[in-house]
């Protein structure tokens, strides 16, 4: 750009320079901050490849002096039940998500597009319930599960979450934006209500559903509180919960410990790297424009 300038060229360059230095400094600072954000991951992966005595070596290097990655990860995946833990997390999260979608989407559509008595009360209840965290309702739910002898089951792990009032709220807002004229035209064309929902509404809601799915999956994958309460045996532990084991000296091999931390963290992080846009939209969808 600067090549074809005529007389004003000199002053242009002068204006350009100080700004560039400021820009440069900002960029450097931003990357320094990014390094802080990323360093724990680097440390974790690096340690997971080291033998236990090197992990806490004062003379820290990123590349392991002795590579013990294969043994560490082998130990975590095949000797310790991490595959089970991961599978449990998947089962619970997918199960929760499935139920949430099945219950929320129809209800949201009804609240958005159909008139019926009690819709205001229902919607009001939904909004109020959004503010209620699991910590408050956990006590009676726990007692109920204890009485029913259902502790330590997948059912118990999923139960409080199978209806998501947040999903109902979200999808209702989304469906409200769907043009009534299209629905009415479909009715005139002879579509039944169910067909309208399945063939018109659902396909249009795919982005919102995708974003919510990410939000829900991540939130429940990372949940510690409820699994901590209802899980009692190791074979039902979720990946997140399994980290609690390290309070006691579950594993004296530090390298392997951080290998397990990596195994637990990896699925979400990798998914994030592949589907960045979707992730960010999903996790922050509780947000801006409402």
């Amino acid at each position: 750009m600067a090549d074809t300038l005529t007389t004003p060229a000199a002053s242009w360059l002068e204006r350009l320079r100080p700004k560039s230095i400021g820009r440069l400094v900002t960029t450097v600072l931003l990357f320094a901050g990014a390094w802080i954000m990323v360093f724990p991951f680097i440390w974790m992966i690096s340690s997971s490849l080291k033998p236990t005595d090197e992990v806490y070596d004062r003379d820290f290097t990123i590349i392991p002096k002795t590579f013990k990655g294969w043994e560490n990860y082998y130990g975590v995946i095949f000797e310790q039940p991490y595959l089970t833990f991961l599978m449990n997390s998947f089962i619970v999260c997918l199960g929760i998500l499935a139920f949430q979608l099945i219950t929320a989407i129809p209800a949201a559509y009804a609240l958005a597009k159909l008139k019926f008595r009690g819709s205001t009360i229902l919607f009001g209840t939904v909004i109020a319930a959004i503010t209620i965290p699991i910590n408050v309702t956990s006590i009676p739910l726990y007692i109920g599960l204890v009485r029913a002898g259902l502790l330590d089951t997948y059912f118990a792990m999923m139960f409080p979450f199978i209806v998501s009032v947040f999903a109902i709220f979200l999808f209702r807002q989304f469906f409200r934006g769907f043009p009534d004229s299209i629905i009415q035209a479909a009715r005139v064309d002879g579509f039944s209500e169910i067909e309208i929902i399945l063939r018109l509404i659902l396909p249009s809601a795919v982005p919102a559903i995708a974003a919510f799915s990410i939000f829900s999956f991540v939130a429940h994958w990372n949940d510690l509180y409820w699994p901590l309460i209802v899980v009692q045996s190791q074979d039902k532990m979720t990946a997140t919960l399994s980290m609690m084991q390290y309070q006691s000296a579950f594993d004296t091999d530090f390298g392997r410990t951080y290998a397990s931390a990596t195994v637990v963290t990896a699925p979400l992080v990798i998914a994030f790297l592949f589907a960045r846009r979707l992730f960010i939209r999903g996790i922050t969808m509780t947000g801006v424009k409402g």
Partner: protein, 295 residues
Amino acid sequence: MATSPLQRAQTRLAYMLVLPASLLILVIYIIPIILVFAASLTDYTLVSDHYEFVGLENYRTMFADEGFANALRNTFFYAVLFLPGAFVISLVLAIAIQEQKQFRSVLEVLYFLPVTSTLSAMALVWAALMDSGQGVINATLETFGIPGVNWFGNGNVVLYSLAIISLWSVIGFNMVLFLAGLTAIPQNLYEAAAMDGADHPVDKFFRVTWPMLGPTAMFVAVTSSITAFKLFDTVAILTQGGPDHASEVFLYLAFLEAFEYFNMGYASALSLFFLGIIFVFALVQALFTDRNVQY
């Protein structure tokens, strides 16, 4: 209200559609809330079948209990440590990153990475980094001549440590929210401001950026506050409330009372108090969003 056959069919369909969700809401939210209210008025403990109605006894105990006061103090102190950073640092980062045309995507990803990670796993990592004897952080400090800190062993420091970990995991989230808010500001407002003479960064910020960020800023403030009060995971994994109750935050105390000591009645009272706090925040957000920032 005249009901045509179409209307009636729709109503029937509507009831069918909302039935599953409504039933579940009843069972998962409404009944438990009622039970929590009820339980808070009893001395129910899971262990014995016999319990009594004790009225407001639990609440009286709560307000007199040093454990309660301690937990509340810890939680508030932690919130005060956490919130300014969670808000200001993310905002500054968002503003800085927005101008980085080339590196914006990369930086967004790097800063958001902690948000996607499993906090309980990363907490172990932070415990190692902050280990007073062998942790990388103290090692680095000492190479600069600064004495190492006893991050988790010192009761005066432990809340700072927890705040640092939480900030690390949350800043990317708030930053992305602010970025979305910043991107939504129409460019021609800045151009009009430039024409009006407001091209100094301070003027641009106070005249255009900050007012237009209103709804986003409100949202970030409220959700960060709620997140601060919900602190649990790192306490459960790293400190278990210690050393000596210095990091016993409110939710952790409630958790112990309910699921360790099984004082269900008392724990219910604690939960309701917690619900009250959350409710106040939600109310603040609702009021402010409607009144102040509606364009």
